[in-house]
Amino acid sequence: MINSYFVPVTSRNEEADDPKGNAPPEEKKERRRIYLEFYEKKLGIGDVHVYIVAPDRSAVASMGVVQAADPAKLTPFLEEVVAKLHLKPAPPAIKPHPTSRPPSGLASDSLVVHLVSRALIGGSWHEFPSENWIVLSAAEWNQLLPPPDGAKEPWTLPAPVARKLAEWVYPQNEEKTGVNRSRIELADFRLTPTAKEGTLVRAKIAGKIRLWHSFYPGGQNERNAQDIAASELTGYLDFDTTSRRIQRLRVVTTKGDYHGNTPFATSLVSMSRETLEALYAPTNSR
């Protein structure tokens, strides 16, 4: 229904409503204008909120997120707007596309790792998994490899790249910025060669992570005992010893616990060039 009758758009408060946000000034100004018009017309306002704006940019109707999250409430609300504005259904104005994507404009020799982390119990904050896109520069992903001629003996990842892989290994909680605020106590990844075919080597990964991460932002300067995310991981790294190129990096938790009462699971998967290109396929508007 949203695709057929409306032009959908999201607006992140930290970008477009915060004076320090990085949205363009014109975007912020228009966002503010919409908010004030809804306020002046007493049509409802909120930080997490749905606003219906007519094609002439005038305020039509709004709904708070608590109600909007309920299809039994949102659907009749939208049907009423459709009837009021005499709308006709049509194909989506914008082609649907993946919204979770790595940053664009990456160096061609970057290694992009897709992280997915989910709580394994139900409840609030656990309805959806969290994702992160970890970008390793060539200098960073080279640290995943053993020293030249060292692909026969086990090795350990250096701290900087180990921490970069570890810092998002916890389930969903409240976040407002994209900046990681974990305090890592342990990020240990040990690799042991287990298979060799020509110049290709597979190394088994055994990892342990222990980090402090407050559930709500602002608590990162405290170290409450319950704010620990502890996990054990397994995985593998396939690489070419001659070209020193990584074919596949796969890491996944075998155990994970947050807060002492929230089991979770996290995966880290390197992305191929083809997958990255598909994520950024054109999304033309009508």
Binding site: E30, I52, V53, Y236, Q247
Partner: protein, 84 residues
């Protein structure tokens, strides 16, 4: 024979040498099975079934052109990744 050789050479030049991989083993099978269980399901990615505009200004331009209202959802955090 010469024609066959030229054809094969052309195929290699056109498509490049096929990448070789180490054969999957029990470790790979176990890790991949664990990873699959964690990935977002289609139901969890229904948000992506909506064609979201890139900005309010873009949405308003399209809305005016197509004579459709804008559905604007404001929120905190990163709704696309679930870290919000």
């Amino acid at each position: 024979m010469r024609t066959l050789g030229l054809s094969l050479l052309s195929a290699v030049l056109l498509f490049g040498a096929a990448e070789t991989w180490i054969k999957d083993d029990a470790l790979v099978s176990d890790v991949e099975a664990r990873i699959r269980k964690i990935q977002p399901t289609r139901a969890e990615k229904r948000f992506d079934e909506i064609g979201w505009a890139g900005s309010i200004l873009q949405a308003e331009e399209i809305a005016a052109r197509l004579n459709r209202p804008m559905f604007l959802f404001t929120y905190n955090g990163n709704i696309d990744t679930g870290r919000c």
